[in-house]
């Protein structure tokens, strides 16, 4: 079959052809970018934090009437209270290990700073930003972090200080990402660094494989995996404990926490929100991302349906309009399959033009999104998949009206229009 009659016929329906092509182009541009956004969100939600998340939960509590961590003597008193809590939690039958901690990945509450190789330098000199996790010798095992070099903390390493005290620690453990950034040649263990522009040195004693920072906001994108572990209990009028339950005993351990802590000291606030499993923390942190992905997915689906329905509607109209011509062609010897092919090829031409414009629009839209929002360049496979999907949808949509057209009997030619 030659293209000529198809092109000639298309010229007769310029407005309709342009509209379908435009609709396909717009749909392709929007769907490509929306699916790309969905892909990005899914990737974000699924990235591992570096923790062993099963059987892990967090306890947050505040003491009422506790001394202030800003007063001399207050810090020592607060530390005693914290140690009592830790002892009580470690004694629970369903608990495997407990560590005091200031925050956890995905908790969106963080203490951030910077690390430098020279004393007295801050971020500006081009070193690494990092976030701090303060805990004790059980922190690594409780979180389930994997040590890849050096050693973990021992009980002898652990210090305690007031929450707002910014003295530099003597030793730290860093993530591999942070170690590589500071020491691209490797061998970070045993090296000296300076924290937050301080002039007192800090030694790196170990490197863990992976640990995410607490914040999930876009402002941490530059240092998502740059975490630093500090062997220090922070003393304030509130405290957080990360608890690893014995395998399969998460619920029982979580239920046992509140009574145990009240037994140690009733003068505290523990509410519904105080004992949270890590699964819940993860769920809450990525709620907005999940919602956005679902919304984008629904919109894409409806958009594709609307476009498919539009193609069906317009092609049906053309079939009705050309009833007589189809009859003539059939009478002149065209087979059913030729008529079917005709409409299929016609649709392929229109959709082809549509996707060419659509690819340009998709890239343009992506560039616009990149300049206004947190967005990266759309990978080619997304666009190619979109193109194939649009062509397939066009063919599927055109099939029913085209079949109807192919069933027009040759005798139509003899009838009046």
């Amino acid at each position: 079959m030659t293209m000529h009659p198809i092109l000639a016929a298309l010229r007769k329906h310029k407005a309709g052809v342009v509209l379908i092509a435009l609709q396909i182009a717009l749909t392709l541009a929007i769907v490509c970018n929306a699916v790309f956004i969905i892909g990005q969100r899914i990737e974000r939600v699924n990235r591992p934090t570096g923790l062993v998340e099963n059987d892990l939960f967090l306890v947050t509590q505040q003491w009422v009437g506790a001394p202030s961590g800003d007063e001399p003597g207050g810090v020592a008193k607060l530390d005693t209270m914290q140690l009592e809590d830790l002892a009580a939690l470690r004694n629970l039958p369903d608990v495997a290990s407990v560590a005091p901690i200031n925050t956890l990945p995905l908790l969106n509450s963080s203490w951030n700073g910077s690390m430098a190789l020279q004393p007295g330098q801050e971020l500006r000199q081009g070193q690494a930003r990092t976030t701090y996790y303060f805990g004790d010798e059980q922190m690594l095992s409780t979180l389930g972090l994997r040590l890849v070099a050096g050693r973990g903390f021992t009980a002898g390493d652990v210090q305690h200080r007031g929450f707002r005290d910014t003295t530099s620690p003597a030793i730290v453990i860093v993530t591999r990402e942070l170690a590589d950034k500071l020491f691209p040649q490797g061998g970070a263990v045993g090296k000296t660094v300076y924290i937050d522009g301080s002039s007192s040195p800090t030694a790196i004693v170990g490197v863990v494989e992976r640990l995410q920072v607490p914040s999930t906001g876009s402002w941490v994108n530059a240092f998502t995996w740059n975490a630093t572990l500090v062997p220090t209990r922070l003393n304030a009028n509130f405290s957080r404990y990360v608890v690893r339950a014995k395998p399969g005993r998460l619920d029982a351990a979580m239920r046992a926490v509140t009574p145990a802590l009240y037994k140690v000291n009733p003068m505290r606030v523990l509410d519904d929100d105080s004992v949270r499993s890590f699964a819940e923390i993860r769920d809450r942190a990525y709620r907005a991302d999940r919602g956005m992905a679902i919304l984008m997915g629904v919109v894409c689906l409806i958009l594709l349906c609307v476009t498919a329905a539009g193609i069906v509607g317009l092609t049906s109209f053309w079939v009705g309009q050309r009833h007589r011509q189809i009859g003539v062609r059939r009478a002149l010897g065209a087979r059913k399959v030729d008529i079917l092919r005709y409409f299929q090829i016609e649709n392929l031409l229109i959709a082809g033009a549509g996707v060419v414009i659509g690819v340009l629009l998709a890239v343009g839209l992506n560039l616009w999104l990149m300049s206004h929002y947190e967005m990266t360049r759309i990978p080619v496979p997304y666009v190619l998949t979109g193109v194939l999907a649009m062509l397939a949808i066009g063919q599927a949509a055109v099939f029913v009206p085209a079949r109807r057209a192919s069933n027009v009997p040759p005798v139509e030619a003899t009838r009046a229009a």
């Binding site: 929306a34 009422v64 919304l295 919109v299 109209f317 229009a417």
Partner: protein
């Protein structure tokens, strides 16, 4: 004539139910999606204090040294304690209030109630009058109370309900953070949204329940919540909450009734910065800003990126739905060429045919708009039941209701224009020949 055209339109729409349904559905979906996201955007970008916000300004100055990890040329978002009190005591504005946020334990007298924490704002006397916070009972405290570090609090209506069952509790004592306070005022329902005066604590759906004099709070070392940025070698720790000259953690708002006063105040800020530099406290050249409420919100980019992205997505969706409707309407109108040319032959003018076809598309638009409104209400219901801090705010107000209908009508008339114009081009009676 309008009635007759309407009749014709309904007749024609009924003749091809599937096509009509498809057009109506496409418009309804497009309108529903756009109105849902537009309403959320409208609610989130609203003015927290209508009528007052253009007189309220947020002064920023730059006390940082040359290092520091705060990026960019903009001055810090907040003030140091020392600058905050200097500007407060300078009294150069019509009203001014220095503040910061936190959480305090409430220790009820009755043994039946466990202690609990509530969000608190530590501020100075002008806060209530400047922001127009309505008092249900009592009043705020005075500037003299500020200086005297008075143990006085204003509580929110929610806390008053929880502790006292909503009765007038002015004059009663309340144990807050281990100190006895006298309640001097109870606020009515007041929760400006966005929480413009301190966006560090969350932008939407946030209302403090305890307001206490800032100096009292500093005296008691109550907990501070929000953002703190420090630089240089001033360390925190024992004695004070933060170093008073190298940590920013306070917000300062001023009321300036006229633009001239605002210009004067900006000059005052420059002058203050120069003076501090001469004293050796400031290092940089004066770097000041004076934004009013709406400018401040815009600068903070308080509207979540996702919400703006969703709005664009919805309007892209509406555009596709419209193109779809234009195509379908074109098909429908052209199919009736025979009927139209008969009407032309019988003396109907092009203009009359055009009007008739536009009325037909208008009907589609109205029905689609009504459907879109229902979908928007459904969409907003879904938004309200999603866990986000602005969920509760998502309601359709009359202005948005009107916008919906105008959008629907405008969209469908726009969609009808091209097809109607094309269809009117038929020559009278030309179509009759082939029959």
């Amino acid at each position: 004539m309008f009635g007759y055209y309407l009749d014709l339109a309904l007749h024609s729409l009924k003749r091809n139910k599937a096509l009509t349904a498809l057009m109506v559905l496409a418009i309804a979906l497009g309108i529903g999606a756009s109105m849902t996201t537009l309403t959320v955007l409208h609610v989130l970008s609203g003015d927290p204090l209508p009528g007052r916000s253009d007189m309220l300004y947020y002064p920023q100055i730059d006390p940082r040294d040359d290092s520091g990890i705060l990026p960019g040329k903009e001055p810090p978002f907040q003030l140091t304690e020392i600058d905050g009190f200097n500007l407060l005591r300078a009294q150069r504005a019509d009203r001014q209030a220095l503040m910061t946020g936190g959480a305090v334990p409430i220790q009820p007298d009755s043994a039946a109630m466990d202690p609990f924490y509530v969000e608190a704002r530590y501020t100075t006397a002008d806060f209530f009058a400047m922001f127009g916070a309505p008092f249900h009972y009592g009043r705020g405290w005075s500037a003299a109370d500020d200086e005297a570090k008075a143990r006085e609090v204003v509580i929110g209506s929610e806390l008053n309900e929880r502790l006292f069952g909503g009765v007038n509790s002015v004059g009663r004592t309340l144990r807050v953070a281990d100190s006895q306070f006298r309640i001097v005022g109870v606020l009515g329902n007041w929760a400006p949204s966005p929480h413009f005066y301190d966006l560090n604590t969350g932008s939407y759906g946030y209302a403090e329940q305890v307001f206490m004099p800032l100096q009292t709070a500093l005296d008691l070392h109550v907990a501070h919540n929000g953002s703190t940025d420090c630089w240089g070698n001033g360390t925190g720790g024992v004695g004070r909450i933060y170093p008073s000259s190298s940590c920013v953690w306070m917000q300062f708002w001023v009321q300036l009734d006229t633009p001239a006063k605002a210009a004067d105040y900006q000059e005052f800020l420059v002058h203050y910065s120069e003076q501090q530099k001469a004293l050796g406290r400031f290092v940089k050249a004066p770097n000041v800003r004076l934004r009013n409420v709406m400018q401040w919100l815009a600068y903070w980019q308080v509207i979540p990126d996702d919400v703006r992205l969703q709005t664009w997505l919805a309007f892209g969706f509406l555009l596709v739905c419209l193109v779809n409707t234009v195509g379908l309407m074109l098909a429908k109108f052209l199919r009736r060429s025979a009927e139209l040319s008969v009407r032309r032959a019988l003396g109907a003018s092009r203009r009359a045919l055009f009007a008739q076809l536009l009325i037909e598309s208008g009907v589609v638009g109205m029905v689609g708009g009504a459907g879109g409104l229902l979908l928007a209400l459904l969409g907003l219901w879904v938004v309200r039941h999603r866990p986000s801090d602005y969920a509760a705010l998502a309601h359709l107000d009359p202005a948005m209701l009107l916008t919906t209908f105008l959008l629907a009508l405008g969209a469908s008339l726009l969609a009808g224009l091209l097809p109607a114009w094309r269809a009117c081009q038929v020559a009278p009676a030309l179509q009759l020949k082939s029959n």
